[in-house]
């Protein structure tokens, strides 16, 4: 046995490129696996640890005051007596008393009442009552989380009071200390670095100077979106500041108060959102969810992507290794025949060839693990760079070492052993017989007969190509696999720009303005939208049979943003996937849904939807191509009626430049504005969300691209090796290099092209399946398409790579003298 292994080892030494290729393939697969999974593990660990240690909120809620029912006449009378208001406000309170008595308060009037009550913070105790009640019911405790927004030119910062014994959302100190005096603050370490500040430096906030005493994170700002209009975190210009609580009280800035909730036992968010009328998730509450939940989502998706592609890459490696193994057997046929004739059995000969997967698996796996281990901190930093989460120290995880080395080695060894066992089935005499390897199979003979009518050159090419149907299959299969990887790279490459471009196709508005409460003021200039979130209650198909939605993850957000729009729109349009503009006359309970709703929830044109708490049965008439959450469009007037509201709007699409500057907007309007987005901001917002996924994909793409070249090099090497004798013979006969290339080396080109073409739909199908798995967790129906131009580019990449690899392999052939090449084996 020892001699067999020595013999096998010297064969390996002679064909270094092949064993290097195997090692490289295993290395690529295992390094990406180790790197990504260790990074994700570390981040997930850091995230979970952080959530627990800092007791980060599960949810925040906004309490809605129903002015018709929350206050009695005597409550309001009491309030009136205890506050000092101006004449107008006094008038409003008096009117409020009157309408309470007569029970005919209008919505518009109550908006004014709300402004006054909020201004004087009169709702505090009522809101407290409601919150207490809900807390008892749903078994949670709560705490106020306050912050104020400050701005200094481009610099935006959120200021928070440092509270030593804060129960929920405890701040995290990175370095230094928390403020103990009024002129002390902590800031973000990233901000300090970008602005050349350090502990001890001075910082100016709202025209007052403070001393930086430490760096700290606000644990409820893991993804630190400072405010709703600045969705992309800018490390240089955005900051989170903790100051002394007394100093905070006097700080001048727009305050935000969140009721941060922590469930004592199970998370009952869904129940609260569904059942509680007095509590809802405001835009700020939803933003808080994004800040805290987006890291987890990113980590999970990173893992799904890498695990899926690891198996693909390992699968490709396994096939290539088997190709090489088969080649070894063919080349060493005589040797194997001699061994068998000497009495060595199949198993012992097959065992000696296990050196290939053993060396490839172990060496490639160990190198891959080592590389992955040392690179994973870089990957961790890349992933976590957007987040304010302290990372845990790296630990040496032996399970990854085992997985990186054992899995490929064992799997490949088992496969190799049984394949070799099968291939070694011939008797010794057969293997030793001259020409036993030159038998032409039945199919090749048929092809030879059929091609007799062709000119000699074509006949020769076809004959050489189908010399071994098995080898042809292997070259085709390898090209197919390489094609899969190339298509993967091409599809992913500009996927996100495609989504953003599609989402903002033909957008003519510059601003989107969201209002706190519905407006009835006449506006003939802008596109008016009445929007609200609803959950789907029931769905029927076109035959009116009840239909189930596609299965999603348990705590998925199923809220649909319904936008009531008018028939004629000036600034934005809805398009289907073929870029046809959609008719927005949606009277008679018609609804247009978006791509996400269609692909993720499984809704189709013709289906009928009933939403909870909305007395309408809508029929889906079209699907608009947009990838922004779950959105649906209905007739505005009808929608208002369904919600028992007057014809109103709480969102507009506008081109009015006044929305670029708050100072240009009338006071009356400002009081009711929740947020203003510019189109530029919206694009960035989407880009930010998409960025969550792209790092993992780009890493996989880079590795896939490297694998493409490794595989192509191996295939080219095999093709040259396979045809070494034919090439040498043709040189001896006097064929020119060009003629040899044309006949011998180009003969596989048609098969490579066909295999690549077949790989395109195969990869798209595979990606769609992976996206389907992901879509259960994310509200994004990633469109998987490839344009003809991209497909052609992919083919060029493959062919260029193939011919380049051929060129490299041919150079080794040139070094062999013709006389040696033609010698009897």
């Amino acid at each position: 046995m020892k001699l067999l292994f020595i013999n096998s080892f010297s064969s390996i030494r002679k064909k270094k490129l092949q064993i290097i290729g195997i090692i490289l393939l295993v290395f690529l697969s295992t390094s990406i696996y180790t790197m990504m999974n260790m990074a994700v593990d570390r981040m997930e660990g850091a995230y979970t640890n952080y959530i627990n240690e800092q007791n980060v909120e599960d949810l925040s809620l906004t309490i809605d005051i129903d002015y018709r029912n929350s206050y009695t006449y005597s409550d309001v009378l009491n309030i009136k007596g205890n506050i000092e208001t101006d004449d107008n406000e006094q008038y409003i309170i008096n009117l409020y008393l009157m309408c309470l008595a007569s029970r005919n308060c209008t919505d518009d009037f109550l908006k004014q009442v709300d402004r006054v009550f909020e201004k004087y913070d009169l709702n505090k105790s009522k809101k407290q009552e409601v919150l207490e009640d809900i807390a008892r019911k749903y078994n949670f405790y709560y705490e106020e989380t306050r912050s104020k927004l400050g701005q200094n030119n481009d610099y935006i910062y959120r200021v928070m009071p440092y509270i030593k014994n804060k129960k929920i959302n405890k701040p995290f100190l990175i370095k230094g200390k928390f403020p103990t005096a009024n002129n002390e603050v902590t800031i973000l370490d990233g901000y300090a670095k970008k602005n050349n500040l350090k502990i001890g430096s001075k910082i100016n906030l709202s025209d007052k100077e403070y001393t930086i005493v430490g760096y700290a994170y606000a644990s409820d700002y893991m993804y630190p979106i400072i405010n709703i209009s600045s969705p992309m975190f800018d490390e240089q210009k955005h900051n989170i500041v903790f100051m002394h609580s007394d100093e905070y009280k006097n700080f001048n800035g727009v305050e935000e108060i969140a009721n941060s909730i922590k469930f004592k036992k199970e998370n009952r968010t869904d129940e609260i959102v569904e059942k509680e009328k007095k509590a809802y998730l405001s835009m700020n509450d939803m933003l808080r969810i994004v800040r805290n939940k987006s890291p987890k989502l990113k980590f999970e998706n990173g893992r799904i992507f890498t695990e899926s592609f690891l198996y693909l890459l390992l699968g490709v490696s396994a096939i290539i290794i088997l190709v090489i193994a088969k080649k070894r057997i063919d080349d060493e046929r005589l040797q194997i025949g001699v061994l068998k004739a000497l009495g060595y059995n199949r198993s012992s000969i097959a065992l000696s060839y296990l050196l290939y997967p053993l060396i490839g698996g172990l060496v490639g796996g160990i190198l891959g693990f080592t590389f992955g281990y040392f690179m994973h901190p870089t990957m961790t930093s890349l992933f976590i760079s957007y987040y304010n989460v302290p990372t845990l120290k790296a630990t040496f995880d032996t399970s990854y070492l085992l997985k990186s080395t054992l899995i490929p080695t064992v799997v490949l060894s088992i496969l190799t052993f049984f394949i070799f066992l099968f291939m070694l089935r011939h008797k010794a005499l057969y293997l030793l017989r001259e020409g036993s390897n030159i038998k032409v199979n039945f199919i090749s003979r048929i092809i030879s007969r059929i091609t007799m009518i062709l000119p000699f050159k074509e006949r020769l090419r076809i004959s050489l190509a189908n010399r071994s149907i098995g080898k042809l299959f292997i070259v085709s299969l390898s090209s197919f696999l390489t094609g899969l990887l190339i298509v993967l790279v091409l599809v992913v490459f500009d996927l996100f720009s495609f989504i953003i471009d599609k989402s903002f196709k033909d957008v003519k508005y510059d601003y989107v303005v969201n209002y706190l409460k519905p407006e009835t003021t006449i506006n003939l200039v802008d596109d008016l939208v009445l929007t609200r979130g609803y959950e789907i209650s029931k769905v029927y198909d076109s035959n009116d049979d009840l239909k189930d939605l596609k299965e999603r993850k348990k705590d998925s957000n199923n809220s649909i943003t319904i936008e009531g729009i008018d028939k004629e729109l000036k600034y934005f349009y809805l398009y289907d996937e073929n870029n046809n503009k959609l008719n927005t006359d949606l009277s008679e309970d018609k609804i247009i849904i978006n791509t996400n709703m269609s692909k993720i929830l499984g809704l189709e044109i013709g289906d009928k939807i009933i939403f909870k708490n909305l007395d309408r049965k809508y029929t889906i008439v079209n699907i608009t191509e947009s990838f922004n959450g779950f959105s649906a469009y209905v007739d505005r007037e009808d929608f208002a009626k369904a919600m028992s509201l007057k014809l109103s709007y709480n969102k507009i699409y506008s081109k009015d430049s006044k929305y670029s500057d708050y100072s240009k907007i009338e006071n009356e309007e400002i009081m009711n504005i929740a947020s203003i987005f510019s189109t530029k901001d919206l694009k960035r917002n989407m880009g930010t969300i998409l960025e969550t996924y792209d790092i993992s994909l780009y890493v996989v793409m880079v590795f896939a691209a490297i694998m493409v070249f490794v595989i192509v090099l191996i295939i080219a090497n095999i093709v040259i090796e396979e045809n070494k004798k034919t090439i040498s013979l043709m040189r001896v006969l006097g064929y020119k290099k060009k003629e040899i290339n044309s006949i011998v080396l180009n003969m596989y080109t048609p098969f490579i092209i066909i295999s690549y073409i077949l790989s395109i739909p195969a990869m798209i199908y595979l990606l769609e399946k992976i996206v389907e798995i992901l879509m259960k967790d994310i509200d994004f129906a990633l469109p998987i398409t490839i344009s003809y131009i991209k497909a052609f580019i992919g083919l060029l990449i493959l062919l260029v790579g193939y011919y380049l690899a051929m060129y490299i392999s041919k150079r080794t052939l040139k070094r062999i003298p013709l006389s040696v090449a033609l010698k009897r084996e």
Partner: protein, 235 residues
């Protein structure tokens, strides 16, 4: 008789790590056109190497080889290819046929690139392969395979036929048939036939027998009378 090849101080040296092998050691030789030359010698004497350098399959280390008046050692790649196409025809011991081509196609492989090839059908008939022209190599015997190899070499209408152990893998009967065919070709086409063999009996069909030993020419013998292939002994 005109001289077709002139070798002047030709050496072929293989260098390996700490030692060198002189496969050809200062060879000086004239080969006459139209003759049958047999090169004999023990294994490793340099006879195949001599064949290879004459046919441009291999390069010399030192010296010059003239084909007629042309120094073939100075050929660039283009000239080399032209020379290989038109002058030599090569017959190998191991036939070196392409397995996926039938006999006829293996022959066409050579005629395809020749400027003035002989008629393939005529050649097939000459070598006695008419019933076997549509067979694949694996369907033919050793003798038939060698005939295909000969036909492939001959169809180019070469000036010189180089035969490296053409009967090495054949038995006496088959071997003599092949030698008979080679003699017939030499007579009919008036080409020069150079045969390398370890079988000294084959020297009896030659006009000149060159004996090689240790890379040098040990002896050159001219036969006054040549024998027919049927009449020779068999070592």
């Amino acid at each position: 008789m005109a001289v077709i090849y002139k070798l002047v101080n030709v050496s072929k040296i293989y260098k390996r790590k700490n030692f060198e092998t002189r496969a050809l050691d200062d060879i000086n030789l004239d080969i006459n056109e139209g003759e049958v030359i047999v090169i004999v010698g023990p294994s490793g004497s340099g006879k195949s190497t001599l064949l290879n350098v004459l046919s441009c399959v291999d390069n010399v280390t030192n010296g010059e080889i003239y084909y007629k008046d042309m120094n073939i050692c100075l050929f660039n790649e283009k000239s080399k290819v032209e020379y290989i196409r038109e002058v030599p025809g090569f017959i190998f011991q191991s036939y070196n046929l392409i397995p996926n081509l039938i006999a006829k196609e293996n022959i066409e492989l050579a005629s395809h690139i020749s400027k003035a090839p002989l008629d393939v059908k005529d050649i097939i008939k000459l070598v006695g392969l008419n019933e076997h022209k549509y067979k694949f190599p694996f369907q033919m015997s050793g003798g038939q395979l060698q005939r295909v190899s000969i036909a492939r070499a001959l169809v180019k209408n070469p000036r010189v036929l180089f035969c490296d152990e053409p009967t090495g893998a054949l038995d006496e009967k088959m071997g003599k048939q092949i030698l008979k065919l080679l003699q017939k070709i030499n007579k009919q086409y008036k080409n020069t036939l150079i045969i390398v063999t370890h079988n000294p009996s084959i020297g009896d069909i030659a006009n000149t027998v060159i004996t090689m030993k240790n890379g040098k020419i040990d002896n050159i013998k001219r036969n006054e009378k040549t024998k027919k292939a049927d009449e020779i002994g068999w070592a």
